[in-house]
Amino acid sequence: MKTHSAFSDRRVLVGALVLSGLTLGALLGPALSPGDPVAIGDVMQSRLRPPMSTGPSGALHVLGTDAFGRDVLARVWIAARLSLAVGLIGSLLAGTLGIALGALGAWVGGALDRALLALGNALLAIPRLVLLLVIAALWGPGLPTVVTVLALTGWMGVARLVRSEVLGVRETAYIEAATALGVPPGRVLRRHVLPNALGAAVVAVTLGVGNAILLESGLSFLGLGIQPPAPSWGNMIAGGREWLLIAPWIALAPGITLIATVVSCTLIGDGLMRGPSTAPAEAARS
């Protein structure tokens, strides 16, 4: 993260390009695709068309149609809107919560800090998917639940990171100077401590986006996330499950898009973190 921009890392560049392409597709794609991606029309005429075939109306289905005659590509794009938004918002909310709680614990210290640490550890001891399943099932599936649950189960890692960063920054001379100058503690935290403790949190949030998208698709695959007919990559794959041998493209298209998205997020996160990096090895060799 030098001044000559993070894009000098090839991984960040590739990841950002793929994500931009997906975002563009999500914004423009549905408008350019034939047919309504959600409504079910004349099923018998248009269902299960293979990729690159034309439907009864003469429209080209680049990725074919699903069991209800809906254009798969259009649905992938609509689902991209949902999945990208859910991943981004869920991860950002989790990150914000983590930053707030981590900084609060480290700054206040004492019983509050210990309580927050214990809560975080307890939540980390339950596999996140199990936690997600339990909450999503109890509070009813749907978009708001998914986002809330992603935030509630994703803050612990970031909080831990920010906490240790804040504890480190707190001991530095410039914080001592600011306090000695009579700056109120809240202002010291906001203006001097947090900006210096956020670097690692940003990376964690970036990696969290891919994770959140994966978890959302998993919940939707199990029927506990986004509910059909609204398309999500997860419920599209679930819908294509019974047609795997006859019409594999129904499950293949959302699956590959999903993998590309998650790989891009991982690449960007890795690039920003400079790891799993080769930096130490290269430095030693040169």
């Binding site: 550890n121 339990v134 240790s164 480190g168 695959f221 794959i237 998650v262 973190m273």
Partner: protein, 391 residues
């Protein structure tokens, strides 16, 4: 999956603060805090020097009970916290489980009787007290949907999940360390790039999608190729239906059923561990004492065995502990797709039928497994790594 990522990201900054802040850290952060690859080497040796100078540490020769006991207490406290959180989560959720147990025409007395039978009467605190007391005696209550003790339901499913999880975790570690070690030595080469791209993609593939892909390939592939019948692997369940097998044929039958689920669990596991083993091994090769050993002209084999492997072992063990939740999560999808009646599938069914005691019991069991694995990883690291036995 997620825990591996965050856990490793944590490790990059955690040790700074954690060494000087509080002594009351619980098991997980401890495992994570001690996990960074070679970055910790310098810190560990610094700590060692401090210990030599510190007379109060002079008698601290035996790393054993003194280190393990507090961790064990921490682990038990953590488990209690998890149990309490889960209890609250489930009992504060909207909807009354008792209303699902009785017919709509039931009288008030019948409902009250059902409530009492399932321990759903009295205040929340009273219910919690009863539940915790029973839990301490190993009693997880009665399943609402199956009318069986939760313990029996879990006891049926646990071995099946341990079979899948254990074998695939072992495969992940062996395969991941082998692959990671191989290209950790070749960082920056074309082969390294290719393997890294492959492992990143495999690591990102959702296990439910991977399961479907493997299912199609394994079922229709041999048929298309005209392979003999014994090569077509079964895709559902644990046993061949209606077959009464015992002894070796039974074991072979189970193994054939387990092969595909294990493959789907192991592939992302191998990829995930390889990604981090690569860094650990590359860092270990770059460490000054390894370069000194190379410069002294020691054989490559000797350097690898005595200087590199020993340094890379601890981060990899910690990683395995952290990979466990990923295996658990993966197994939920894999068991669902392959109709494997393990913990994951039981969990999904319990959630579907709002079987609260089973959900509660399973969550506690999951957490216990994760906490135990982390504790084990930490103790193993301490036992194997001479640098840490002093600290």
């Amino acid at each position: 999956m997620c825990t591996v990522t965050t856990g490793f990201a944590d490790s990059r900054s955690e040790p700074e603060a954690s060494t000087k802040t509080d002594g009351s850290r619980t098991v997980l952060p401890q495992a994570v805090a001690d996990s960074p690859a070679a970055a910790a080497t310098a810190k560990a040796s610094a700590r060692q020097i401090v210990c030599h100078l510190d007379p109060s540490r002079a008698d601290d020769k035996i790393p054993g009970v003194r280190h393990i006991l507090p961790r064990l207490v921490d682990a038990l406290l953590l488990l209690w916290l998890v149990a309490t959180l889960t209890f609250l989560l489930i009992h504060l959720a909207p909807g009354d489980p008792a209303s699902l147990l009785v017919s709509p025409t039931a009288t008030a007395e019948e409902i009250a009787r059902q409530r009492a039978a399932f321990g759903l009467d009295g205040s929340l605190l009273a219910q919690y007290g009863r539940w915790l007391g029973a839990l301490l005696q190993g009693d997880l209550g009665m399943s609402l949907a199956l009318a069986r003790p939760v313990r029996a339901v879990i006891a049926d499913a646990l071995p099946l999940s341990l079979l899948l999880g254990g074998v695939s975790l072992a495969l992940s570690v062996i395969g991941g360390v082998a692959i990671g070690g191989w290209h950790g030595r070749r960082v920056g080469t074309r082969a390294d790039t290719v393997v890294t791209v492959l492992s990143t993609t495999m690591y990102a593939a959702p296990s439910f999608w991977l399961a479907l892909a493997v299912l199609v390939i394994a079922t229709s592939g041999p048929a298309v190729l005209g392979a003999p019948a014994w090569m077509r692997l079964p895709a559902f369940g644990v046993h061949t239906p209606a077959a009464t097998l015992s002894g070796w044929p039974n074991i072979v039958d189970i193994a054939r059923h387990a092969l595909l689920p294990i493959l789907v669990l192991a592939l992302p596991g191998i990829a995930g561990i390889a990604r981090y083993a690569r860094v650990a091994i590359a860092d270990a090769w770059a460490a000054p004492h390894v370069r000194a050993a190379e410069a002294r002209g020691l054989s490559a084999q000797r350097v690898r065995r005595w200087y590199v492997t020993r340094n890379a072992v601890s981060p990899i063990i910690v990683l395995v502990g952290l990979a466990l939740p990923g295996v658990v999560a993966g197994s939920v999808f894999v068991e669902q797709v392959f109709a494997w009646p393990g913990l994951g599938r039981t969990m999904l069914q319990a959630i579907g039928s709002r079987d609260y005691p089973v959900v509660l019991g399973l969550t506690v069991v999951y957490a216990a497994v994760v906490i135990a694995a982390n504790l084990l990883a930490e103790v193993t690291v301490r036992a194997l790594d001479p640098r840490r036995s002093v600290a």
